[in-house]
């Protein structure tokens, strides 16, 4: 488990591991105020995160391949259909309220 009051190199290592393992919320929640301040003030930390992201991408970016893009496309289409419906509902609603008033 993560220690309290971590030094900057420990914070970077924990950020890198949580990014790699897909559990960034755990890292964010683990930060104390002092650690957050330490991160905020460290130029090295910010420089290093950029490389960590690239390492993560080079090492593990390929594994994130959905086998069925067709299925994903239908999810996208369903999302679009729902937005169309919402837009239509919002344009219809004023006239409906008008009818109700009468």
């Amino acid at each position: 488990m993560m220690n309290a009051d971590r030094e900057i190199q420990e914070l970077l290592a924990d950020y890198a591991s949580s990014l790699r393992d897909g559990c960034l919320p755990t890292f964010l929640k683990s930060l104390t105020r002092d650690e957050a301040r330490r991160i905020s003030e460290s130029r090295d930390f910010w420089d290093a995160t950029e490389i960590v992201r690239l390492m993560n991408s080079a090492g593990f970016g390929d594994k994130v391949m959905t086998p069925d893009v067709g299925l994903f496309i239908s999810r996208v289409d369903a999302g679009i259909a729902s937005r169309i419906k919402k837009a239509q509902a919002s344009t219809r609603s004023p006239s409906r309220s008008h009818v109700n008033l009468q």
Partner: protein, 194 residues
């Protein structure tokens, strides 16, 4: 740029919603892999990546104006990241930060930063570049990074290198900063920006 992608982009920026909706399928097919790979850099979680990307595509369908006059694949990725992905990434992390101590600005810089060095190079180019840079490191530094990229925990890396977890974290930190310097040099040499 692929001809099918160019055609899809043309249709996607059409004015009527039905043409745009029809254009989504070829557009998603042509861009899914690079887009989800790019998102993975910031999220590291496939399920989150897919959820965010679903919203990104719907946002593109709703407001494709930024995608007019796209010149090439890099320009497309840059535009989609800056105008569509970042907004969604920020939303994800705003939710995550409810109980966290980071300021909103720091959180944004950590999770949906400006595009940095080599952020738009392809997966293959990136691998080659990292391989080249790793070759320039000392054996122990290279080993620590390679083991990390194989998915090993810091404790396991410490066991392999016969040292402590604290020493491994320090070694990784220094090595990562060294890699950044090399990357800066590479960008300078190839005429890129810092």
């Amino acid at each position: 740029m692929d001809k099918r992608l160019r055609n899809a982009l043309k249709q996607l920026t059409a004015s009527d919603t039905e043409s745009r909706r029809r254009a989504m399928e070829p557009f998603v097919r042509a861009t899914f892999a690079p887009f989800i790979g790019h998102l993975h850099r910031y999220l590291g979680n496939e399920v989150e990546c897919e959820d965010v990307l679903e919203d990104v595509y719907a946002d593109i369908w709703e407001n494709p104006d930024h995608l007019r006059d796209i010149e090439d694949d890099r320009h497309l990725l840059r535009t989609v990241y800056l105008y569509y992905m970042r907004k969604r990434l920020r939303e994800v992390y705003r939710r995550m930060n409810r109980r966290a101590s980071l300021s909103q600005d720091d959180l944004q810089n950590l999770m949906a930063p400006d595009l940095g060095l080599c952020d738009l190079i392809s997966q293959e180019e990136l691998k080659q570049l990292l391989h080249k840079m790793l070759g320039k490191l000392k054996a122990r530094e290279r080993k620590a990074i390679e083991l990390w990229m194989e998915g090993m925990s810091n404790r396991a890396i410490a066991n392999q290198l016969e040292t402590t977890v604290g020493a491994v974290k320090m070694l990784e930190f220094r090595t990562i900063l060294k890699l950044r310097e090399m990357l800066k040099e590479h960008c300078r040499a190839s005429g890129g920006e810092d």
